[in-house]
């Protein structure tokens, strides 16, 4: 019962567990972390915490942030989530430039490469677009409204992405589907021309990202899913080029002792621009996998398994800066059941410079050092047990949100009988 499920979600699960998110500026000028409704930014140039300035007159609510990202130019930053507000920030002055009110909770956001449009997806599968009238630092603009762009009929959109050339907007959903839509000249009138559907996943899709370098006009799409695979697509035709099974890790492991369990969910992908590499985060895996994509042979393979020794650090979100090739990872969650603490997060980083063996940075080696950790984590030391509880809570929340429920025949009948929306039509 998707609809009742979603509508319940609207009211009941106010204190749903939300994973901590991380996003790093494309040239590593700053890094942002969210835990629940908290948005924390650290300025890596000045090496200090950023003070967010939000003078917009929109409504003020405190609910979990579900999506953050920097624009490709590094000028804009967007945050959005359960508070039904999309906040568009200057990534330089950290003033809130626009507040967009959404009718529903927001699950994903994207910024066009020329910073002219912001798209966001709501919990009902509708993608909305806002046109930005330039980045105007001085004045506080009245709140904006989005125009409907496209829709995945009653599904949850988990990821939104512009193609590197800006021609397409891509939307991935819990119904195993990725839609490739031409981003039109007049987006406010809707995006009606569907280029392709990328179909092949057998579970919900969690993340999509482009592998791209300047020699490619188009770039290839990678997608991660609850079906334990990462897939490679040609978006023009929607054809599946390769499938990389994430469970078959034997032989690749640097350390064999801890392999992910049989069925794993890929939770995040970030591709490293100007290379054919991508880092992948997996539910219940302490570390990250590096995948390499052969753009001529159209194949995808695991090149490295990087396990983080010691603490149980399972990243809930990862991000890489274009300039430094430092992979930033956060592990954490808000609204943990049975805890009165608002949330926890732990930040780690891995250097992925091609010429050197990838190295996991110690806390004091991370740019910004303990000052950064204090700002992004709240406190420096986090107990082990809290970390594992957070990872488990995030896993549960994700499967209850995205996995198709299998009801028994009787239970289904019962649910039908007790539905509110049915009573009037019978």
């Amino acid at each position: 019962m998707e609809e009742s499920h979603i509508e319940e979600g609207e009211s009941q699960n106010k204190f749903e567990v939300a994973p901590a998110l991380i996003s790093v500026h494309p040239s590593q000028k700053s890094v942002a972390v969210t835990v629940g409704s908290d948005l924390r930014v650290f300025d890596l140039i000045e090496s200090c915490a950023v003070n967010l300035v939000d003078e917009s007159d929109g409504p003020f609510r405190k609910d979990s942030i579900r999506a953050i990202r920097y624009g490709a130019s590094g000028k804009l930053f967007v945050s959005a989530g359960d508070d039904k507000l999309v906040k568009i920030w200057s990534a330089e002055s950290w003033r809130c430039l626009y507040t967009v009110c959404s009718e529903k909770r927001v699950s994903a956001v994207a910024i066009s490469s020329d910073d002219s449009h912001v798209c966001y997806a709501d919990k009902f599968g509708v993608v909305w677009v806002v046109e930005l009238d330039g980045i105007n630092e001085g004045e506080v603009l009245p709140s904006k409204k989005g125009a409907p762009l496209l829709s995945h009929y009653c599904s949850i959109i988990t990821s939104l992405e512009f193609s590197p050339d800006g021609r397409y907007i891509l939307s991935a959903d819990r119904d195993f589907k990725i839609r490739v839509t031409v981003f039109p000249k007049k987006p406010l009138e809707g995006a009606h021309e569907i280029q392709s559907f990328c179909l092949g996943h057998t579970e919900f899709i969690t993340c999509i990202a482009f592998v791209w370098n300047p020699e490619l006009t188009q770039g290839y799409l990678m997608s991660g899913s609850g079906d334990s695979t990462v897939r490679l697509w040609d978006i023009t035709s929607g054809s599946l080029l390769d499938t990389c099974e994430i469970t078959t890790l034997t032989g690749h492991s640097e350390s064999n002792e801890s392999e992910p369990p049989a069925q794993v969910t890929v939770t995040d992908i970030c591709t490293i621009s100007n290379s054919s590499l991508a880092a992948v985060a997996i539910q219940s895996f302490q570390g990250t996998l590096l995948l390499s994509c052969d753009l001529l042979a159209h194949t995808l393979s695991i090149t490295k398994v990087i396990k983080i020794p010691g603490e149980s650090f399972i990243p809930t979100s990862i991000s890489v800066s274009t300039s430094t090739r430092l992979l930033w990872m956060v592990s954490g969650a808000s609204n943990l059941p049975g805890s009165n603490h608002p949330g926890f997060s732990r930040v780690r980083a891995i250097s992925l410079v091609e010429t050197e063996p990838s190295s996991i940075l110690e806390d004091e080696q991370i740019p910004g050092g303990s000052k950064l950790l204090e700002q992004l984590q709240g406190k420096v030391a986090i107990e082990e047990s809290v970390m594992s509880a957070a990872a488990e809570a995030v896993r549960e929340a994700m499967s209850s949100l995205l996995m198709k429920k299998q009801y028994s025949e009787e239970k289904r009948e019962f649910r039908k009988r007790t539905r509110n929306d049915k009573k009037t039509t019978q």
């Binding site: 000249k185 009606h192 996943h201 009801y407």
Partner: protein, 250 residues
């Protein structure tokens, strides 16, 4: 299957009897699915649906071209089957029992008719509002039918309607340029809604009166289906909108 021994089949006609396939009047298209969903059009084994069209490589010789969305008891498919004997067509229906009925009805017609009639029609149980792209490739269809769809009167339920701007994007994707969408209803408000969605959509244009007059399918809209016949019996008015998918550059 022997119709004599099955009480659900009429003794006189050998066709399945509708009253054994009675189902609730309306289905909620938003509810979670409990039927198999093909991963992609390549994963649907249409040879099971159209055994007479199977070639040596065990694939069917042509692709489906017509889709009857919310086909109900299948009356339209049955009329179209003999009108376009070389065209493959499929009905999509959400209600389990109704789909079973249409399946049996087609099988019975295949058995009782002479020649290879009714071999070109079939039905699948699915939610067309969610899974059209799982069944059809880009530009595969030349006709789509939406006959007497559920009206969903309440404003709050308008998003359950089978014709909407967003769903038309998907229909435009599976229809080739030149393909036609046929809609008809006895609910005036819904008729206006469907027409205005189609009119506003940049990838569709209305057929002219001459085009409507020369299209043999148009007259089937109001009398081929069970719902259409019911409306006609009661002397009800119908509201029709027939539009062509046009070539389009965003």
């Amino acid at each position: 299957m022997d119709s004599e021994t099955k009480p659900t089949f009429s003794k006189s006609t050998g066709l399945p009897r509708k009253r054994f396939y009675r189902a609730r009047a309306h289905s909620n298209p938003l509810s979670d699915s409990h039927f198999p969903i093909p991963i992609s059009p390549l994963h649907v084994d249409f040879s099971l649906h159209f055994p007479k069209f199977v070639e040596a490589n065990s694939k069917i010789s042509k692709k489906i071209e017509f889709a009857d969305i919310g086909c109900g008891f299948g009356g339209l498919l049955i009329s179209l089957a003999t009108l376009f004997p070389d065209t493959l067509m499929i009905g999509m229906e959400l209600r389990d029992k109704v789909t079973e009925y249409v399946k049996e009805r087609i099988l019975a017609l295949r058995r009782t008719s002479s020649g290879d009639q009714y071999e070109n029609i079939s039905v699948v149980r699915t939610n067309s509002m969610k899974y059209i792209p799982n069944y059809f490739e880009k530009g595969q269809l030349s006709k789509m039918f939406f006959l007497f769809p559920d009206p969903h009167f309440k404003e709050k339920n308008h998003r359950r309607r089978v014709i909407s701007t967003h769903l038309l994007d998907e229909y435009a994707y599976v229809l080739r340029a030149g393909g036609i969408v046929y809609t008809i209803t006895d609910v005036e408000e819904l008729g206006e809604w469907m027409r205005s969605c189609l009119e506003k959509h940049p990838m569709f244009e209305s057929l002219t009166q001459e085009e409507l007059d020369s299209d043999p399918v148009v007259e089937l809209l109001c009398n081929a289906t069970e719902e259409g016949q019911k409306v006609a019996r009661n002397g009800g008015q119908t509201f029709r909108a027939v539009f062509r998918r046009i070539a389009y550059v965003s």
